[in-house]
Symmetry: C2
Subunit: 419 residues, 2 copies
Amino acid sequence: MSEVRVDPNLDRYAARAAALRASEIRALFSVASRPEVVSLAGGMPDTAALDLEAVGDTLQALMAEDGARALQYGGGQGDPELREQLCEVMGAEGIDARADDLVVTTGGQQALDLLAKMLCDPGDVVLAEGPTYVGALGAFQSYEARVVHVPMDAEGMDPDALATRLEELHHEGRRPKLLYTVPSHQNPAGVSLSEERRHRVLALAQQWDLLVVEDNPYGLLDFKGEHHPPLVTLDPSRVVYVGTLSKVFSPGIRVGWVMAPGALRDKVVQLKESADLCQSNLTQALAARWLREQPWRDQIDRFRERYRDRCRALTDALAAEMPHGCEWSQPTGGLFVWASVPEGIDTGELLAKALNARVAYVPGRAFFADGSGGRSLRLNFSFCGEDRLREGVQRLAGVVQEELELRAAFGTQLDEGTS
Amino acid sequence: MSEVRVDPNLDRYAARAAALRASEIRALFSVASRPEVVSLAGGMPDTAALDLEAVGDTLQALMAEDGARALQYGGGQGDPELREQLCEVMGAEGIDARADDLVVTTGGQQALDLLAKMLCDPGDVVLAEGPTYVGALGAFQSYEARVVHVPMDAEGMDPDALATRLEELHHEGRRPKLLYTVPSHQNPAGVSLSEERRHRVLALAQQWDLLVVEDNPYGLLDFKGEHHPPLVTLDPSRVVYVGTLSKVFSPGIRVGWVMAPGALRDKVVQLKESADLCQSNLTQALAARWLREQPWRDQIDRFRERYRDRCRALTDALAAEMPHGCEWSQPTGGLFVWASVPEGIDTGELLAKALNARVAYVPGRAFFADGSGGRSLRLNFSFCGEDRLREGVQRLAGVVQEELELRAAFGTQLDEGTS
């Protein structure tokens, strides 16, 4: 089972990142799955930090009190009691939600897939941050939509660049179907959209009558416990909100949700039923009981604090170890650091050497639809302990350093050989 | 929660069945969800027959021994240990499966959805029994495929009719993308494809180079514990097999699977990841432990015996109560009886009166893509106890009788009024 522990997504990422042949991906993946490899590549929360005994007791009580229902089919919109509890979770970020507007989905990913299926025809344009969540790229592209990126900086998506993109598309006669955004502690960029920019982005959305899909898995994982107002609180009629319990409780229960205005919601329910009939009643009932009976806010605090310490360990190690010319984000929450290596190194090509040095990351190109990101990489700090993070960075720094030295020695020839 | 217990799918069925307006569907559904309504409409196994204490203990042990992994992300293909166990389940029907050829899906429904997404472009033709599983219709139609039906009789799909359809399509210049079939204890028709016909159907598939999707939720639910050879055992290279634990263990865990030759399998994994990243590790681990540690074959025997008795109670009640001119199938397994009412009565139109008389069924038109089935209806016998089944049939018979008397009194006027 070690490949599951180390990095369930590496093959997917690697496939997207480097356009390698299937056999090469399998070879890389079989290496990355070895326990001696430090994987900074996944996006796994530290489920070992959960009170597993409490989860076990909750499950046993559930079986004793309501087992036949938990093991039965449920309705397409999701368990009404769970939807009430999910409104509480949204309330922790100031969202005033009604259970009736929610549809429970298999993680946030299924919400994106169903929205893509509903909204995207082949060739349609979807706007998204560049870089953006690899699973969103997968969902939109699986319906043959074209993702157009909006550049980001340390304050998140650049509204001026968004305005330019919208103008460009208008001149091309194309109306984007939606704007997909992860405004808080973005995956993979590790930055948040500032409050002032939130208003500017929504003003543009209003000006161009653009539907916004707000994907918010990390909003409650701010290291200081602060948060910017979710977009949906600023313009409820224009924003479809996607949430998940994957990062605040457990990804293994696959509980996400989408909150959408009435007509969209009904259509999502219909698509959910055609996709898989209904959500697991068992994991829904577990989530509902967990949120009702357990101190879930304290649990989120534990995650936040643990990730804050690990993020510091990672960025400190990067500062101490990485060669001159490398850069990285300074996250204030979430799970990821976004880094770049000096000009001339391609992180997709470097991955094989990194795996050989027993460290894994996700090459930056995985997070772009347009082939950019070749100098970037994503590092995860939520899963490995601090010592292991430092060990991983040391190995990564060694690989980058070696590559730089190789290039210094054989520079131009190498560049010509790979171009 | 009563709507979940009574019939989670009635709105979907009703929508398909009668092309009612949304407001009417909601009105019907709110009636059908009342506990005083005997619902013969759903397709729910009797999960109360499970050893719920054993499930609770299994879950608690799982949390204690492997909790952090069960609550974590898993791989896109599904838990390797569960896939091994699913091969055992398939072995009970004589299928020689390899875990590596399986992809775990969210029930059989997601397998159908992913196959439809992979194989069907808008306008493509899919062949399927008429009537066929309503969820398959939903999946194929959601990708804008056109379902063409092959008539059935008491021995299942008619191979002569299949040959004719294939000839007709050939003359139209259309090549069907696949043949979808539920060969054993079909939903909704309540019949099985005879062994001789299995060979004839596969010979036709070979002749026309047709991919066959075999959906087999009920194969182990034969009342005598017998089974015909699954199609996949007769032609492994041509048949994509879809299985599920929903009817032999629990639908609430949402564990199904698809077994497909290598290239198709890889593509299904990729689509699964884009649809929802991965299956729930928790419910997969529960299923794996259940199949490894619990007497699951005995549990299936318990289901089989219970459903056999209930089926007999239902068909005996139909024989005793239903007016002259009604007909129904004589199931040898599965969950459903397929019935028809005398000429002139439309089961879609009758549903409102039936709900008023506190009995629910699924109108036959729900199971056809072409608007036929107006005289048919599906009755479920797996969920209600025998007394309740008899009560439901009594109410149904009363409604049909009343309708017949009304028509005898005002016959031609009524027919003109509704045509």
